[in-house]
């Protein structure tokens, strides 16, 4: 009796979880249907498995280029954030003077600033750098990466800072006595010990940067530079919505996310929990 009840509860939970996923189901099934079939029954499984709309969506969204752009911008930004923020946080913890405290508190306080508050002046600053210092900050991946690093610095420094405080200093002192430079101490001894928090920072930043729409939309104007959210936006803006093709396009954008989730689920969930709790 008790076992039957448990089985029933299990089934109920599975059913509920699947119902929760129904938007994904609707997106996928309708990406295969032709127009008549889609309007005849949006809920049913498709009669035929035609990849016609995928081919068209890939073409119109310039999907492969957008995927490459997203991957490049996200990976390079995340690598820089991890390297620079861990180095900075380590120094701020180990040199615990007034200056370090002020720098740290500034990083933390700015986490409250919404992006909308600085987006317009940010564009003016970048434009000023472009005209006066001749560094191409706008409409380049490099510029976008630079801004990504700046925006994700606070959270990363904050997380590394909290973690490094719990790392014992004795090993570092021993290495220094053995004649190791600061650089050597950090990269050979400290950084390897930061593995768990590095994964947390990287996961959080990958999710945020991969999905970011507003910042890239303000900085990138060339079609060829567009990331996935940007090409999705223009895909929906340029054509009157043809739903089956649109659903094929959206399914495409979600495939990389699902693959990432499938392989890194454990780290993602751990990263989300740690990133939030700290």
């Amino acid at each position: 009796m008790k076992r039957a009840g448990k089985l029933f509860a299990d089934m109920l939970l599975i059913l509920f979880a699947l119902a929760f996923m129904s938007p994904i189901y609707l997106m996928v099934v309708n990406s295969f249907k032709d127009r008549a079939e889609l309007y005849a029954n949006a809920l049913a499984l498709p009669d035929t498995l035609s990849f016609e709309y995928y081919v068209r969506a890939i073409e119109k969204m310039n999907f492969l280029a957008a995927f490459g752009n997203s991957l490049y911008v996200t990976l390079v930004s995340v690598i820089f954030v991890v390297i620079l923020a861990s180095m900075t946080a380590w120094m701020l913890v180990r040199r615990d003077n007034r200056l370090s405290k002020i720098i740290f508190l500034t990083f933390v306080a700015t986490m409250l600033i919404p992006f909308q508050t600085i987006m317009m002046p940010l564009m003016m600053v970048m434009d000023w750098i472009r005209t006066n210092l001749h560094i191409p900050m706008l409409n380049t991946h490099g510029g976008l990466i630079f801004m990504n690093i700046g925006f994700h610095a606070s959270l990363a420094v904050f997380l590394f800072h909290g973690f490094i405080k719990s790392v014992p200093i004795e090993l570092e002192e021993a290495a220094t006595l053995d004649g190791c430079s600061k650089f050597g101490v950090f990269w050979r001894i400290v950084f390897p010990m930061l593995k768990t928090i590095t994964i947390t920072v990287a996961i959080l930043d990958v999710i945020m940067m991969w999905n970011d729409y507003l910042l890239p939309s303000l900085t990138l104007t060339d079609k060829g530079l567009r990331t996935i959210p940007l090409s999705t936006y223009y895909f929906f803006g340029e054509f009157t919505i043809i739903w089956n093709q649109a659903m094929a396009g959206l399914t495409l954008t979600i495939i990389p996310v699902v693959i990432f989730y499938a392989f890194a689920q454990k780290y993602i969930i751990q990263g989300i929990a740690e990133g939030a709790v700290k």
Binding site: K6, L13, A17, F20, M21, P23, L26, M27, N30, A42, L84, M87, T88, M91, I103, T106, F107, T110, L112, I113, P114, F115, Q116, T117, I118, M119, M120, P121, L122, V125, F146, M147, I149, G150, A153, S154, V157, K182, F186, I207, N211, Y213, L214, P229, T232, Y233, F236, W243, A246, L250, T253, V257, F260, Q265, I268, I269, I272, A273, A276, V277
Partner: protein
């Protein structure tokens, strides 16, 4: 000794300067310039003059009916979704921390929407609220409920709330799970032995010990709701008739849509003050309610 001190300073600079320089250029300088811009009237065209107007941008905000409506809608939306997201997230976390065999699958699926970008979520649901809803309404005869929500000014905001809840419930679930797993098993078993029923165990043990998780989740959902932009843009784009134009989108439209840079920036600064005040107040209030183990 002095040499080594100088050397230490050089290392300090080398390690911290690159990030601090980038951070100052991208966040600090624009923030300070932004405050300055909020006192200026300008249309964003470099050749046109920037006129200093003092506080008049800020005064104009309080006569801007569209902005005031946007603020009011944002508050209503935020209150609604903070409640929905946290109830659902807490419920999910309680379910997936039971001994059910399907708990892992359920957890995986509940969290999944959070990984998809807001822009893309908005487009997926746009299809559901327009065509799928119309289809269901036509088939079942429940046209009172299932019609195109996005063209109805009263319902559109609820469609936004549903999408946000769908996206965030799994996120808060993860944080609540971490909180629940931190509760000592002996405590729950002792209560069970003493004859406490499920509701008593939840209300007397689990909820009080989850207060730190509540603090975090309320903070994250509240600030997320106030700052929502991507879903707003792709699902409703503020419509119909501005009924779902939340603050972030209103600011964006003011600056880049209408080219009123000074006025828009004054809104942006006020927006920062509101977000900071609301979230900090919430954290202070809920922190007080946390209990020590």
């Amino acid at each position: 000794m002095i040499v080594s001190h100088k050397k230490d300073n050089a290392w300090y600079m080398l390690f911290t300067f690159p990030l601090i320089l980038i951070f100052i250029t991208v966040v600090i300088v624009p923030f300070l310039i932004g405050i300055g811009f909020s006192f200026i009237s300008w249309d964003g065209i470099a050749a046109n003059p920037k006129v200093f107007v003092g506080f008049s941008n800020y005064l104009r905000l309080f006569q801007d009916e569209r902005f005031l409506l946007s603020g009011w809608v944002t508050v209503r939306f935020s209150v609604l979704v903070v409640v929905l997201v946290n109830i659902l997230g807490l419920l999910f976390s309680l379910i997936v921390t039971t001994q059910l065999r399907s708990r892992h699958v359920a957890r995986t699926l509940f969290f999944m929407p959070n990984l998809i970008g807001g822009l893309i979520l908005g487009y997926i649901w746009k299809f559901i609220f327009t065509d799928t809803f119309k289809f269901i309404g036509g088939k079942t005869g429940l046209e009172q409920v299932f019609f195109n929500w996005l063209i109805n000014p009263d319902f559109a905001i609820y469609s936004l709330a549903i999408v946000f809840t769908w996206q965030m419930a799994g996120y808060t679930m993860i944080i609540y799970i971490a909180g629940i797993q931190g509760i000592p098993r002996e405590l729950m078993e002792a209560a069970k032995v003493d004859g406490a029923n499920l509701w008593q165990r939840l209300s007397k043990i689990v909820f009080p010990l989850l207060m730190p998780a509540f603090t975090i989740c309320l903070f994250l959902t509240l600030s997320g709701a106030f700052k929502i932009f991507d879903v707003n843009l792709s699902l409703t784009n503020g419509g119909p008739i501005n009924s779902t134009e939340l603050l972030a989108l209103n600011i964006y439209n003011e600056i880049f849509g209408y080219g009123r840079y000074g006025l828009g920036q004054a809104k942006a600064i006020l927006f920062f003050l509101i977000v900071a005040a609301v979230t900090l107040t919430q954290v202070i209030i809920t922190k007080k309610k946390e209990v020590q183990m």
